[in-house]
């Protein structure tokens, strides 16, 4: 005879333990919005100490709702990587409590979150499910549940009711716990619990529980105390608990399954690892002896079930740690020997605890062989990339080598996939050997031709290697945002110092300060340095605190506009829109200065309008969000503006990829007349400069009397790139949210200042175009450090609680319509925005010196031949091989550094796999870096492809012009 006939489970999503605690010593005025709002638990426990129990309910990370539901119904431990499946609710195929209930004729009614419908299709006798995907919506699910709960409880056709409330969780996501809305929501939940208690029968068990907690910003997913400590409240009039202990002991979430199964009289699910809460099995009607027997029986059943599972798992060919398994067998024997019931019970308890511990340990098992093979493969690929960068293979790229390289890539990947899918590590090593053999076979192409490392290359490499070595120290990983900023500042300052040395050495022995540092070049250097340094220093405003940074106070930038108090709304809106406007206006100003926004080519028209229109739309969308925060959002206002922006961006990028030229040819007939017009505007130097270029053409074929005047030709390569980047920046700001638009602006500014310094250095030191177009390691190091700095600058940390889940809902409403890839993609875009932007912008590093020397001729170094250089980027258009080579070497260096970072983080995770902080620090760090590398690879490829496309278009345009002349 089971202790209870019926059970009601109220699952309040994200009900943290301290939400449910009642602290009588707090005055009403002093309470935070989430404190003391659910007095019902405290009151009931006080009134019926033997019938009710409130305790912390410890979740296992990852604390995402989907993972928790799986854990709560199957009773098994989660695996680390499962978190990614949160967006894809899949049917549970393991044995679970719902199946057991249904199989034994219990009828289950479900109300609330529709995740349940996806997990257990067709199991429920009655259901009222509501879409859970729109986190902005606080009320639909809860109102739906509340409107049906009373009615369903009144019906007689159920044994179990599960009601899943989502409002608290959504309120956390939207406003965070410290918001008046949270108080309202918790009060509503309090009311609901009261009503259920009032309507309960005597033989019904009520469980109120949270599946996870939330951080101070209202997010969850990680393993911080705030996230794993949910609340569990047990109450039944029939219950008879022993007198309450002084300290309420925490209950593990896996313990729910055996407790629920045994109290309802169904078998415990096969893979459950929980330990039954034996006190809950005792009802008031039992005598002390019966109660003891009941507890013993419960534990005994539980032990048998766990043993069955462990044995089955072992028979599948898995092994347990020898000592633990031996200890377990000993314990089991001891339990059977023991004559006293009490002694047996202690042994059972110990058995269950130990079994869970053992499983926790082996679930986190490391396959050292596979890890080693992967690390070796990475190392040899890094070696190959390093050789390629410095070898002669780059200087004259031969197609057959490229072809063989591609074949090698395919074969290596195939081998590795084989090793993964069949578990033969030997294939991994074979791939490794193959790469080494390939390198040996092509050694004449891979010989390092010239290694000329100068101070400007060596010191940044040294700095970056500090950064990479920091991956092995948990304290450096924890404060990596500070370390990266420091290294970046050092790199930038190094540029300034070397530039100053260069300037002084050229003007030997002129002792006067003003004479040496008073010219335009020096002033630009100083300004660029100051701007970069100040921007890097200001990035502290946008940093997110990770759990281990106990000194760190969370900034307001992480809180969305709707979560801020009312009096800050205008200020926040202004400080969000201004950076956005600047981030669009500054590149636009640059393009105007270069003369790339003249005329009526399709690309030009788009570049003039789309970024501006998109940014206006973003500002409007923010306003809509803020104004409508109080109301339940209208679908149109919520979804349409972002979607329009996405569409416009796609069109913009696609059109620019097809017709990438942002130049304007003056009609030949009008050219003579318009010449004075050109000189009216001194800022557009390009026509004048181009005139000299065309002079050459005219002398070659003297029959053409007219000089074509073309605007923006000297910056033709970079202009299209800038036009694409402008609109990508707008999308990044949109996805980053209003609080972080300043961060994106800072990122753009630091990148621009770095480009400036790099270009100035090149212009000062280079003798010819070949050197000028080859940025070298220093630029790659700067760009690499900047990309990591950008990751932190945009409010991220390499930990799972720090992911910006709110980005998943920008322009997406409801999971069904778009599938699961769109939210995942948006969160990825938010997280890796800096990798994306800097990867795309990498070709600018190559062309920046040329563009700068044309637009600001006063910055041109004296070492360069003046006449040639005035043709700007068109020089590279005419030398496609040189362009390809320098793009290739820059991209390879940049990717090399990123891959080296991944290698270091994975090596750290491998070496320190027994470290206390592995799951908190090293493993997430590795995962974030690895995904970042993939983003980098894709974006660098896209950037290179686009640049080559622009080059081809410009070259064919030039040919046509020559032919026409």
């Amino acid at each position: 005879m089971p202790p209870f006939r019926k059970t009601i489970i109220l699952l309040i999503d994200a009900l943290r333990y301290d939400f449910a605690l009642y602290n009588a010593s707090l005055k009403d005025d002093d309470t935070l919005p989430y404190q003391n709002k659910m007095p019902v638990f405290g009151e009931i426990v006080k009134q019926h100490p033997h019938q009710a129990l409130l305790s912390p309910f410890m979740a296992d990370a990852p604390t995402t709702t989907m993972q928790r539901l799986k854990g709560l119904t199957t009773g098994s431990l989660p695996t680390f990587i499962d978190a990614s499946l949160n967006f894809a609710s899949e049917e549970i195929e393991e044995d679970n409590i719902i199946d057991q209930l249904v199989r034994h004729g219990r009828r289950v009614t479900i109300l609330g979150d529709d995740t349940w419908g996806g997990l257990f299709p067709g199991r429920f006798s009655r259901s009222h499910l509501y879409s859970s995907f729109n986190v902005m919506d606080l009320h639909t699910v809860d109102r739906g549940v509340l409107s049906h709960l009373g009615e369903e409880m009144g019906r007689g056709d159920w044994e179990v009711i599960v009601a899943h409330f989502l409002g608290v969780d959504h309120c956390g996501h939207r406003y965070g716990p410290n918001h008046p809305q949270m108080a309202t929501k918790l009060a509503q939940m309090n009311e609901a619990v009261l009503q259920v208690i009032a309507g309960m029968d005597n033989d019904t068990l009520l469980l109120v529980l949270g599946d996870h907690g939330m951080t101070q910003t209202g997010d969850h997913g990680g393993d911080s105390r705030e996230e794993v400590e949910a609340a569990l409240f047990v109450y039944s009039p029939a219950l008879h608990l022993p007198s309450p202990p002084v300290h309420t002991l925490p209950v593990a979430q896996v313990d729910l399954v055996p407790t629920l199964a045994l109290s309802l009289g169904v078998p415990v699910p096969f893979s459950s690892l929980g330990k039954v809460m034996e006190d809950v099995l005792v009802t008031a009607g039992m005598s002390a002896e019966e109660a003891e027997k009941q507890r013993h029986l419960g534990l005994h059943l539980n032990v048998q079930q766990v043993k069955r599972y462990l044995t089955a798992y072992r028979e599948l060919g898995n092994s347990y740690p020898q000592d633990l398994w031996h200890k377990l067998e000993l314990l089991e024997g001891k339990a059977l020997e023991k004559s006293s019931v009490g002694g047996q019970r202690t042994a059972f308890s110990e058995y269950l605890t130990l079994a869970k511990l053992m499983c926790e340990e082996i679930w986190a098992r490391f396959d050292v062989q596979e890890m080693l093979s992967g690390l070796c493969l990475m190392l040899s690929v890094l070696l190959m990339a390093g050789l390629l960068i410095h070898s002669s293979a780059l200087t004259d790229i031969k197609t057959h080598i490229i072809k063989r390289l591609l074949i090698l890539t395919v074969v290596v990947n195939l081998l590795f996939a084989l090793s993964l899918s069949f578990g033969f590590v030997i294939f991994g090593y074979a791939a490794n050997v193959l790469i080494l053999l390939w390198m040996y076979a092509h050694r004449q192409h891979l010989t390092v031709s010239q290694l000329d490392f100068k101070a400007i290359d060596c010191i940044p490499l040294l700095l970056v290697s500090f950064l990479l070595l920091g991956s092995f120290s948990n304290s450096f990983v924890v404060v990596e945002n500070y370390v990266v900023a420091f290294i970046l500042l050092s790199c930038i300052t190094l540029y300034l110092l070397l530039l100053m040395l260069e300037i002084v050495s050229k003007k030997l022995s002129s002792g006067k300060m003003l004479k040496v540092f008073g010219n335009a070049f020096s002033v630009t250097c100083g300004t660029g340095w100051a701007a970069a340094v100040v921007c890097v220093r200001c990035s502290g405003w946008f940093w997110r605190c990770r759990e281990e940074q106990h000194w760190c106070l969370p900034g307001q930038a992480q809180v969305p506009l709707s979560g801020l108090p009312q009096h800050l709304h205008n200020w926040r809106y202004f400080t969000s829109v201004l950076p956005l406007a600047l981030a669009v206006w500054l590149p636009r100003r640059w393009l105007l200065l270069c003369g790339n926004l003249n005329g009526s080519r399709v690309g030009v028209v788009l570049a003039r309008t789309v970024p501006v229109a998109c940014s206006v739309l973003v500002a409007v969308w923010w306003a809509i969000q803020a104004v409508m925060a109080a109301h339940n959002l209208d679908l149109w206002g919520h979804v349409i503006p972002p979607r329009v922006i996405y569409a416009a961006t796609a069109v913009h990028v696609a059109v620019l990829a097809c017709v990438p030229l942002l130049i304007y040819e003056l009609p030949p007939a009008a050219s003579r007349k318009s010449q004075p017009l050109v000189s009216d505007n001194p800022s557009t130097l390009i026509p004048h400069l181009y005139k000299s270029l065309m002079e050459k053409y005219r002398t070659q074929n003297s029959k053409g009397p007219t000089i074509p005047i073309v605007y923006g030709l000297a910056t033709g390569l970079s202009a299209s790139m800038v036009a694409v980047l402008m609109v990508v920046v707008v999308v990044v700001v949109l996805v980053a949210g209003d609080g972080l638009s300043g961060a994106v602006l800072l990122l753009v500014l630091v990148a621009a200042a770095s480009l400036l310094l790099q270009a100035l250095w090149k212009l000062k030191t280079c003798h010819n175009l070949k050197e000028l177009a080859r940025p070298g390691w220093s630029a790659a190091c700067l760009w690499f450090t900047l990309s990591i700095h950008g990751f932190y600058l945009t409010g991220h940390q390499p930990t799972f609680p720090a992911l910006h889940w709110s980005a998943a809902f920008v322009g997406v409403e409801g999971a069904q319509s778009v599938g699961n890839w769109a939210p995942a993609l948006l969160v990825g875009l938010n997280t890796y925005s800096s990798y994306l932007l800097l990867g795309l912008a990498l070709p600018l590093v190559v062309v920046a010196p040329l563009a700068l020397s044309v637009v600001f001729p006063s910055l041109r170094g004296s070492r360069l031949e003046g006449d040639e250089i005035s043709r700007g980027e068109f020089l590279l258009v005419e030398e496609p091989d040189m362009l390809r080579e320098s793009l290739m070497s820059t991209a390879l260096s940049y990717i090399f550094l990123q891959a080296a970072k991944v290698f270091c983080t994975s090596l750290a995770a491998f070496v320190l796999r027994r470290h206390l902080m592995l799951w908190k620090i090293f493993a997430p760090h590795f995962i974030f870096e690895a995904v970042g590398l993939i983003v980098t690879l894709l974006s660098v490829l896209a950037g290179l492809g686009f640049t080559l496309r622009v080059q081809a278009a410009l070259a064919s345009w030039g040919e046509r012009l020559v032919k026409a002349a």
Partner: protein, 275 residues
């Protein structure tokens, strides 16, 4: 500096560097003895900065203002201004350098308001070691002179101090919870260690370049004096090659140290044995 009155200026330079060493070791010792207690460490750091600046000032005062260290143009300019104006300018630039260092330290990540006393102490230390001393020795165009590498002592010292201070930031994040990891002690200790290292290096350069040749010459002279002069031969040509080598070496060293020498007089035969 030591070309006019030779041994006097060189001795002064050596003395100054030895004093620098003593001061540096002394302040490190004080800090360690106090158990890295912040308030007293900051006090001793500030005292050390002042002491170092004073030492430099005294040395500058004792060295005749021949200003070979200042380039020719700067020298010409100096004459136009009065000495007081020059001094005032140096003081002003020194104050500016302290403020500038403070700003840079803050830009590199120090707190703006919190720990401002500690940050300022560090700036004072770094500025006095790396900027104020060259300003005193080289005059107001010190920055340019440093970048032009005209004075090896100031250059090596400023560079070493700056780099060592920068490197001193690296132990801060480690979670060892040692008392010396407190801001700004690591950077300050780094700065002092840099200064000590540079002083030792400079002394060793002075010693090795002058020293070995001098020893050779002394040995030869002793030999000559004992074997020949005392037995009545006054012909001193036997030591001529060694002496020439010595002379050449001194010239090279001075050149390497970028110390201008107006002219080295040909030594008369009489001086040599007397030396």
């Amino acid at each position: 500096m030591f070309e006019q009155t030779g041994p006097h200026a060189t001795n002064l330079l050596v003395l100054k560097n030895i004093l620098c060493l003593v001061f540096g070791v002394g302040v490190l010792w004080t800090i360690v003895l106090s158990g890295y207690e912040l308030a007293s460490s900051l006090y001793s750091l500030r005292a050390y900065s002042l002491l170092v600046v004073l030492l430099e000032g005294v040395c500058r005062y004792l060295t005749p203002a021949s200003s070979s260290e200042i380039s020719a143009i700067a020298k010409a300019k100096t004459k136009k201004h009065s000495k007081i104006f020059e001094t005032f300018l140096v003081v002003l630039l020194s104050v500016c350098s302290v403020i500038g260092t403070h700003v840079v330290v803050v830009l590199f990540g120090a707190y703006v308001i919190e720990n401002i006393e500690a940050t300022f102490t560090l700036s004072l230390l770094v500025a006095s070691l790396a900027f104020i001393r060259p300003l005193i020795t080289l005059g107001r165009s010190a920055v340019i002179n440093l970048l032009e590498r005209q004075n090896i002592e100031s250059e090596v010292k400023s560079f070493a101090v700056l780099v060592a201070t920068w490197a001193g930031a690296f132990p801060i994040p480690l979670d060892w919870d040692r008392p010396w990891q407190v801001w700004p002690l690591t950077c300050s200790i780094g700065a002092i260690l840099g200064e000590l290292g540079a002083s030792v290096y400079f002394l060793s350069v002075l010693w090795s370049k002058g020293g070995t040749q001098w020893k050779n010459k002394a040995r030869c002279f002793n030999q000559w004096y004992g074997e020949k002069f005392l037995s009545g031969q006054t012909d001193d040509t036997s030591c001529e090659p060694v002496y020439k080598q010595y002379q050449q070496c001194v010239k090279d060293a001075l050149k390497k140290l970028k110390i201008e020498i107006p002219k080295i007089e040909d030594p008369s035969a009489d001086d040599k044995p007397k030396e």
